[in-house]
Amino acid sequence: MIDWEIAIKLYKNMQLIRHIEETIARKYTEWKMRCPTHLSIGQEGIASGVSIALSKADLVMSTHRSHAHYIAKGGDPNTLIAEIYGKSTGCSSGIGGSMHLIDKSVGFMGSTSIVGNTIPIAVGLGLSLKLQKSKHISCVYFGDGSIEEGVFYESVNFAAIKKLPVLFICENNFYSVYSSLKVRQPEGRKIYKMVEGIGIKSAFGDGNNAIEVNNLTKNAITSIREGNGPYFLEFSTYRWLEHCGPNYDNDLGYRSFNEYSDWKEKDPIVMLEKQLKEYDEFSNEKISTIRNHSQKIADEAFEFAESSPFPKPEDAYKNLYSE
């Protein structure tokens, strides 16, 4: 039984991410966004499904591909785009760029660029929440490549020992840059099964089915809030564009066009539209309203970024230390 109110929230959330990301892709070749930018198009289902299950005060950390996670958690689109433009109004004052996002007002505690880097930091947030006897949780996103980093095992192990309120979200999009999962991890081994072996609860879901993501996440959060310790969720998904940048790269040949088009058929937004067809209050008109509203937010964010000032060159020599 689908909760239509949640389904609509998921749909709006995914459309907003998609419109902002597509606008970045469209405008990237104006060369005003001068930093490595990793787009989330095709992977929105996980970010939205997870975020709608979290509360505002729950804490989130992410990776180099973090726009979707930031927007889904309620991060300000204006300061996101301004950050990619290197403006002083950016969420990291132009210091961080696309790979270093933060919006503490909605619990988005930071994203960084090194594979696996934020996993232990999110576990540290979980430790702080436990010490403070908070009812909130810490949630961290990472890709299938992070599973290959030693720090992943170290972090899950510690979270398990201390039964920390941490939700691990693995977005398995089958590629680390151009390297296929097949050459990086043993064939037939399921990531979520392996993690279960470390000693925490774990489950797998279709990351392009936002409702499934949301339901699995709600289950996991309930278990964590009941004091059962950390939870690991693996979701399959697919990135449509190149690893870094605004273009399609199916011409390179590292993945087959058939594979790509199969996944594109499973567009998380289209999948949810199909499910929503059964809902009386959902119509083509409603879809256009949501799309127009999303584009308006995206356009306003770009206007905000374009009209914002650059930091001064001497601002590079600030904030090294906290007083």
């Binding site: 232990p120 576990v123 702080s128």
Partner: protein, 350 residues
């Protein structure tokens, strides 16, 4: 005579003092609650402050550093300890990419203190004796302190814990049993201030950590030769107290920089570079550097006989700077103590 305690007891006292005053401080590291308590420095902490705030950890140096960072982002002040610096090398991603940069990128404080212990002698060898303070000093965003005296150990540790930035706190194992007068209660030494521990006119020696003890022996010897020394104990190697160094060099015109690490790109090299740039006119002779040779540290008893610098080597370097012909006859009487231990108190195993 005022109260004298050991360096390690001073560390222990600082941890008690800090944790008593601030409930947000936690302390962890491999062995903090074992019977040895990190050479005695963490003895009694868990009994007093409980298992939630004081705990042993898995052998996961990188994650545990990231965990300290994450906890610190949400108002916890972690103090982590490693029994040897060398193990901390597993944590460079979290130290360099996260701890050092978080405030610069995101404006959020990372108040963490990381205690690292440097071994020497007793066969500690290539991977249990490294002092990498020069590496850590190279990374913008970190603070690096390395106290010599028991009082400075207490005062700097309390300042490090109270600091809103990541602080690397380096303890030389040979200092642990040295006694000194240490004030009771909340006693602090500011980070970034060197200490002039001996005044003289003929040469400035800039020193750090255990080498300051050897430098004091050298000064006693040189006094009898009518050579007087300004001895500066850096105490903090990032940021360095340049004013104190420049003031001294302007007075003496001569500089010997000591370093407990390898010579190339050492803190001593930086001291010489900056003094040469900023006090060139004041220098009366070429500065000298005395640091470890650019080799890994060997293990065997005979191989370490000449490897580490001691008072004799400092005296010879002073002679070089002053242009005094050295007849190679400098011998400091250390009784029966072999070269690979700091004193009779040390019987290993590490």
């Amino acid at each position: 005579m005022k109260r004298q305690i050991t360096f390690i007891k001073a560390i222990n006292e600082a941890l008690f003092e800090a944790m008593k005053e601030d409930n947000s401080i936690i302390c962890y590291g491999l062995g903090v609650d074992d019977p040895k308590g990190i050479f005695g420095s963490t003895i009694g902490l868990q009994e007093k402050f409980g298992e939630e705030r004081v705990f042993d950890m898995p052998a996961s140096e990188n994650a545990m550093t990231g965990i300290a960072i994450g906890a610190s982002l949400n108002n916890i002040r972690p103090v982590m300890v490693h029994q040897r610096t060398d193990f901390f090398l597993l944590a460079m991603d979290q130290l360099v990419n996260s701890a050092a940069k978080w405030h610069y990128i995101f404006g959020a404080c990372v108040p963490i203190t990381i205690r690292l212990i440097v071994g020497q002698g007793w066969g500690n060898g290539p991977t249990h004796s490294q002092s990498l303070h020069s590496w850590f000093s190279h990374i913008p965003g970190l603070k690096v302190v390395m106290p010599t005296t028991a009082a400075d150990a207490k005062g700097l540790l309390l300042s490090a814990i109270a600091d809103n930035n990541p602080v690397i706190f380096i303890e030389h194992r040979w200092l642990h049993n040295m006694q000194g007068e240490v004030p009771e209660g909340d006693y602090r030494i500011p980070i970034g201030k060197a200490k002039l521990i001996n005044e003289g006119n003929d040469i400035s020696i800039v020193s750090m950590s255990y080498l300051t003890i050897e430098a004091k022996l050298a000064i006693e010897y040189l006094k009898e030769k009518d050579i007087s020394v300004d001895l500066i104990d850096l105490r903090t190697v990032k940021p360095i107290d340049w004013d104190t160094i420049y003031k001294s060099v302007k007075k003496t015109g001569k500089l010997l920089a000591l370093d407990i690490g390898n010579a190339t790109n050492s803190v001593a090299s930086e001291v010489i570079a900056k003094v040469s740039i900023n006090c060139f006119e004041d220098l009366k002779s070429a500065p000298q550097r005395l640091a470890l040779p650019d080799y890994p540290i060997p293990t065997g008893f005979s191989l370490t006989q000449k490897f580490f610098n001691r008072a004799e080597d400092i005296i010879e370097s002073v002679y070089q700077v002053l242009g005094i012909a050295d007849n190679g006859s400098v011998v400091i009487d250390r009784g029966e103590t072999p070269h690979d231990v700091p004193g009779d108190w040390f019987k290993g195993p590490f």
